[in-house]
């Protein structure tokens, strides 16, 4: 296990280096950005001088030869004098030391990491509650339809999960917004569409007044996006739970337990359920980065200003340092989740040995 972990650790470092290099290359060949804008100014009064352009270039690190771009971006340029490149020494500290650059457009000159830190809580609210919701609903659904295989409920559930897999989540989001708006127009109970918190106090029929910025306000705004995001995983996870439960229920030890006269409830919940949960754990861990991708769509649909929304606006305005930071974070998360899933396999199922 220790050997395996050490080997995986080195593998992960290589993978992360490769993918960050790929992401860096992608963004450095991308057209647009502050330098292009400066060069395009045609008005003689505001046209930047050669000195201005050189200064900008130095700021962007473009004065260095190409083979130094990626290392400098990664580790900064404060140490370059130690290897004899005195002329390129600068102030940058590099991604590894927490210098992720500054935003170009979305909030000019604000450090990218600060921007992300500001938006993170909103996205965490969304992703964590939707993951919990899909687990809380998905697991019992899967168990129930496995225990009553071929019953009416099972067929109903199968149909439901096919619909859940096939429905485009963003369209489902648009639909429930539309329904909620219809309810609002008729003076029925509704959920406010869009935004994280309301600006002014508002009143909802049956519920009464809601103070802007309160917990209730936040929850009211969360309900619809969370439903949509939860639906993304709900169908898949409950289907998986059903298959895993069916497999466990056919095992010998379940038959033994039944033969000993253990009550059916106990067989299902104590003997079968615990073992059926094992494969699900890894699936769930593996899906966590996917929730962030899903958040991009959901946040756009609901105008919910979290990380995904930030990413889309950064891309739309060619704010590359910001977009790059989001991409890096999601890819690191994905790599780590893969590792975590692999390690969890050994913990929950001792028969699997990683070498």
């Amino acid at each position: 296990m220790t050997v395996y972990l050490i080997r995986r650790f080195f593998q992960i470092i290589i993978v992360l280096l490769l993918s960050s290099a790929l992401i860096y290359t992608l963004f450095s060949v991308a057209p647009g950005g502050p330098l292009d804008e400066l060069l395009q100014v045609s008005d003689p009064k505001t046209r930047p001088s050669q000195a201005d352009i050189d200064r900008q270039k130095k700021l962007l690190g473009l004065d260095k030869p190409w083979y130094l771009w990626y290392p400098v971006w990664l580790t900064g340029d404060t140490w370059l004098d130690k290897i004899g490149l005195d002329q390129y020494v600068g102030e940058r500290r590099g991604v590894l030391r927490g210098d992720w650059g500054q935003s170009w457009k979305v909030q000019r000159n604000k450090p990218v990491l600060d921007l992300i830190k500001d938006r993170l809580p909103a996205t965490l609210w969304l992703t964590i509650s939707s993951t919990l919701l899909s687990l809380i609903i998905g697991i019992p659904l899967g168990i129930f339809s496995a225990v009553r295989q071929y019953s009416f409920f099972d067929y109903f559930f199968t149909a439901f999960s096919f619909i859940g897999i096939s429905i485009p989540a963003f369209w489902f989001g648009l639909l429930i917004i539309s329904v909620s708006l219809m309810a609002r127009n008729r003076g029925w109970f509704y959920f406010p569409p869009g935004d994280i918190l309301a600006i002014r106090d508002y009143e909802i029929p049956l519920l009464g007044p809601v103070t802007a910025g309160s917990l209730l306000d936040r929850i009211m705004h969360l309900v619809m996006p969370v439903t949509v995001l939860a639906l993304l995983n709900l169908a898949g996870w409950s289907r998986f739970m059903r298959a895993s439960m069916l497999e466990v229920l056919n095992q010998d030890y379940v038959r033994t337990a039944r033969a000993k006269g253990v009550r059916e409830r106990l067989v299902v919940y104590k003997h079968a359920f615990r073992n059926a949960l094992i494969p699900l754990i890894t699936i769930v861990v593996f899906a966590i980065p996917g929730v962030f991708s899903g958040a991009i769509l959901t946040e756009t649909v609901f105008n919910y200003k979290g990380l995904g929304f930030l990413f889309i606006s950064a891309l739309g305005q060619s704010d590359y340092p910001l977009a790059m930071a989001f991409l890096l974070i999601t890819s690191v998360l994905l790599v780590l989740a893969t590792l975590l899933a692999d390690i969890l396999y050994t913990f929950v199922d001792p028969r699997i040995r990683l070498t």
């Binding site: 993978v15 490769l18 993918s19 790929l22 992401i23 992608l26 963004f27 060949v29 991308a30 057209p31 096919f162 619909i163 897999i165 096939s166 429905i167 485009p168 963003f170 369209w171 648009l174 639909l175 917004i177 539309s178 708006l181 219809m182 127009n185 569409p193 869009g194 298959a243 980065p289 962030f292 991708s293 991009i296 769509l297 756009t300 649909v301 990413f311 889309i312 891309l315 739309g316 060619s318 977009a323 989001f326 991409l327 999601t330 890819s331 998360l333 994905l334 790599v335 893969t338």
Partner: protein, 323 residues
């Protein structure tokens, strides 16, 4: 030799029992009612999308500006004739009473006609990406499974690496940078879409290549290419077909998501995804909800059908498979 009646009967029964595998598969598929229904529905949809515009009174971009955002089933007597795009030939004469069956959009264009044109693009992308992706996956998978060693390691590490990239964000970035046309978009999607197929194929080949018929063809002097593509691939194709049919639905939703976010198919080309983008604002959802309803419904129906067909194909091709 005289054959008595009993023997003749037995022979006949035997003849009935024996069927070509293909016929048997089709029969098994047809027994899966949902899959069969889906197959019929998808066929009808494809026919409608590709032939429908020829019978429509409207063209893709014909606008009736005083009837923007009309609800479904609005009747209207044309004040101006509708002409063919790019010429002055009259398609629908002045004074004809027309019906907007699904209503109109923000420029007064017929939603149904536009939906059909958009469907061509969406379905074309879905099929092209899936077919090309599976083809590439099969070729890489069979080569890496058959030869093993360095080729295999290289291919599988590439697959692993591609799988560690977050798909949707990286597609968004790529499409921002390249601003792709429809065909380039297909290539980008294929580039990330072949890995599953390759893995599946490789797994099949690894077990198949140890079997006797491979040694037999080797002994007979068959070339590697012949063994791979005449003997191994046809035997390992069943899971790939199922995978492809489920993949269709994923590609369709992925393309719709990209276009919905404004990064996939670019205007003036319509696709179901970017029709939804136009309809995604609160005003439209509040006042003209049908504009958001129908394009999404089309995506939903197609992807549901592809999933059912995949399920049916799995039952038909591999009756023992548990799922």
């Amino acid at each position: 030799m005289a054959v008595n009646a009993q023997e003749a009967e037995a022979l006949e029964v035997k003849e009935e029992q024996y069927e070509r595998p293909f016929v048997e598969i089709v029969k098994r598929f047809m027994r899966h009612r949902l899959a069969m229904g889906s197959f019929v529905l998808v066929t009808l949809l494809i026919l409608m999308v590709f032939l429908g515009p020829f019978f429509s009174s409207f063209t893709e971009r014909a606008q009736v500006l005083n009837h923007k955002n009309s609800p479904p089933f609005t009747n209207y007597v044309l004040e101006d004739p509708i002409t063919e795009e790019g010429s002055n030939d009259v398609r629908t004469a002045q004074g004809t009473e027309v019906t907007w069956i699904l209503g109109t959009d923000e420029l007064g264009r017929d939603l149904l006609t536009r939906l059909m044109y958009a469907g061509r693009v969406s379905l074309y992308i879905a099929f092209a990406v899936t077919i090309l992706g599976e083809l590439l996956g099969v070729i890489i998978g069979v080569i890496s499974g058959y030869f093993g060693g360095f080729v295999d390691a290289l291919a599988m590490r590439t697959v692993d690496f591609l799988n560690t990239l977050p798909l949707l964000p990286i597609l968004l970035v790529l499409t921002t940078i390249t601003k792709p046309s429809v065909n380039k978009l297909i290539l980008i999607l294929v580039f990330f879409g072949w890995t599953g197929g390759a893995r599946l194929m490789r797994g099949q080949i690894l077990s198949l290549r140890e079997q006797e018929f491979v040694s037999a063809s080797k002994a007979l002097g068959a070339s590697n290419t012949r063994i791979m593509f005449r003997h191994l691939v046809p035997n390992a194709l069943a899971p790939t077909i199922v995978n492809a049919s489920l993949g269709l639905s994923n590609v369709m939703i992925l393309e719709a998501a990209l276009s919905f976010l404004g990064f996939g198919v670019q205007l003036p080309n319509a696709s179901w995804g970017n029709m939804l983008r136009d309809a995604g604002t609160l005003t439209v959802l509040d006042k003209y909800p049908w504009r958001a309803f129908f394009p999404g419904l089309a995506i939903f129906i197609c992807s549901l059908c592809f999933n059912f067909i995949g399920d049916g194909l799995r039952d038909a091709l591999d009756p023992r498979a548990k799922h």
